[in-house]
């Protein structure tokens, strides 16, 4: 652009050039303006509003009595047994979900990476990916039926198919305290299996083929290759998936709303019920939400520093 301008600028043409650059900035701002408007109105403002609420005793039905209460809500949250039990239950769910949710896809991706026939790979990938095409809430509704004691698919396979247990006394699954959290975790494994496998396959495709060939020349077994080459090079992708899944698993809420069970009350359910229940102490609910989010952030950042690729590795 500047090359087209004459070398000697008269004052008027310089002003014109300046106006032209301003005009070019204006186009850039115009392009991001809708983004900013939506984010400010429905993301930034709501979050700030929740932040403000968390320092008040706001109740939805009695907005006129709202007072600023300082850190009192937060103090209450820190000493709230129900909240900490809720964090504990969310952590329990996360701890059961994460290993299978990550390891099965890694395993499948490594297996599929070895299949030479492109069409077969694409068939496997499509079939495995299909659950990821189903919106989460519909997955929860589906699995709620699948765990049904007398009508569900799981008992159909177990009892009629494999002759384990009996129709007279079938496993109750979701209505059973001990099985509810593992049951939801297995559902989430199913839901994410193809999605995460594709992620890891992209990660594996960045590994140069010569590396494998060199290892085979040196007499490495397939297990050694998977363990020593594929896995370490998958680390960056693993980090992304772990951080991503950690925050969705710790924020498990809709699963409860759709499959609900008395013995499962993660902190998100506590917050939601406080905010939208009869008395609606939204100020306190907001504080619960902030403390929960802060804990998730700390864990995610900790995980990042634990697993980030070493600079020396590159």
């Amino acid at each position: 652009m500047s090359a087209e301008l004459p070398l000697e600028l008269s004052p008027s043409s310089r002003r014109k050039a300046k106006r032209r650059t301003l005009g070019r900035y204006a186009i850039g701002y115009a392009f991001v303006l809708p983004l900013l408007a939506f984010l400010l109105l429905y993301q930034v403002y709501p979050i700030l509003r929740v932040l403000w609420l968390s320092f008040t005793n706001f109740r939805y039905l009695y907005p006129d009595n709202t007072q600023f209460v300082g850190w009192r809500n937060f103090d209450r949250v820190i000493h709230d047994q129900v909240f900490w039990q809720g964090i504990g239950q969310a952590a329990e769910f996360t701890a059961i979900f994460i290993p299978g949710g990550v390891l099965f896809p890694v395993f499948l991706a490594i297996l599929m990476d070895r299949v030479k026939n492109g069409q077969v790979v694409s068939l496997y990938r499509t079939l495995l990916y299909i659950p990821a095409l189903i919106p989460g809430p519909l997955v929860f509704i589906l699995w709620n039926w699948m765990y049904g004691p007398s009508q569900g698919l799981i008992n159909l396979v177990l009892i009629s198919g494999l002759h384990i247990s009996s129709w007279a006394n079938p496993p109750l699954w979701l209505s059973n305290d001990a099985w509810f959290i593992p049951g939801v975790a297995v559902m989430e494994w199913w839901w994410g299996i193809g999605y995460h496998t594709v992620f890891f396959m992209v990660g594996l495709s960045t590994i140069p083929n010569e590396l494998y060939e060199a290892a085979r020349m040196d007499g490495a077994s397939e297990w050694q290759i998977a363990w020593r080459i594929s896995l370490p090079l998958l680390k960056p992708m693993l980090l992304i998936i772990l951080v991503l899944r950690l925050s969705t698993a710790m924020g498990v809420l809709v699963e409860y709303l759709l499959m609900g069970h008395d013995s499962f009350h993660p902190w998100t359910v506590y917050m939601y019920n406080l905010a939208f229940s009869n008395a609606q102490p939204m100020g306190y609910a907001a504080a619960v939400g902030w403390v929960g989010a802060a804990i998730m952030l700390v864990v995610a950042v900790g995980l990042y520093f634990l697993l980030r690729p070493d600079p020396e590795d590159r």
């Binding site: 070019r24 900035y25 186009i27 850039g28 701002y29 392009f31 991001v32 809708p34 983004l35 984010l39 109105l41 429905y42 993301q43 403002y45 709501p46 979050i47 509003r49 929740v50 609420l53 099965f104 297996l111 599929m112 070895r114 299949v115 079939l127 299909i130 095409l133 189903i134 919106p135 989460g136 809430p137 519909l138 509704i141 589906l142 699995w143 007398s150 009508q151 698919l153 159909l156 009629s160 129709w167 199913w190 594709v198 992209v202 397939e222 925050s247 809420l253 809709v254 759709l258 998100t268 917050m271 939601y272 905010a275 939204m282 609910a285 907001a286 902030w290 989010a293 952030l297 995610a300």
Partner: protein
Amino acid sequence: MVTETPAAPASLARPPQPRRALPVGTTARHVVLIFFCVVTMLPLVWVVMMSLKPLQEAYLVPVKFFPTHPTLSAYSFAFSHIPDLPRYFLNSVIATTGGLIGVLVISSLAGYALVWLPFPGRRILLAMLVASLFFPTQITSVIGIYQVDNDLNLLDTLPGLIFPYIAINLVVSTFIMTGVFRSIPKELLEAARADGCTVLRTFGQIVLPLCLNGLVVVGMINFIAMWGEYLLAYTLTSTSASRTLTVGMAEATAGTGVWEWPQISAVFTVMIALPIVLFIALQRWFMKGLMEGALRQ
């Protein structure tokens, strides 16, 4: 394997390897993969089978997997006799279409500006978008979104649902689009500029047609997110004026509903068929889009 034949002389030096049509490892690999594929598909086949059962067969104990007398009556009954169902369906279509158009237009405009249009504050904005991806406040912000809709008198309206749908999906979508736009060669844009193409025309007529794969990725991800969204729809809507099909389904299955099993399965099958058919139709572009930059950040 065929490619190894030219290297035959080398095998003289090594002990001859037995050639098998299917080595044990390969067979085991395929058996495991096929097992996982079958387990993955089983629940969906089961729902479709349930939707084809006549009423009395659905309630047999023990229940059977395949219908003995398959029928489509559950489909016709569900969509003609269940009150509110067509309305819920329409609401879902409107909310998803509105949200999708909004996200596609806004995220491609912003993504393009963030990559190719210079303006002060660009880097800070991009950094803030990336940082916000790791900010786990999606659940907490529901309380605030409810209040915004309340203030704007948008509770229980479709715009009151569409606006937050756009907002909550914008950051990820914009981020994906920046990856896609970055793969456009700089020379192309310079050539367009040299030819006197305005920014808007360059964007609309040259850049966007090249980025269709990326738009398919963003569109698909958002379609899935919005088509089955529950938390906001459940919180922000209360009557059939704006309730979506997902919330309606959840109500129907919660025990308070009057729908019969095959009818619920029929509606469910229709709801999941839409994204699956769409994905299979768009798969080629979707995978290309992922490889082109959507995933490589």
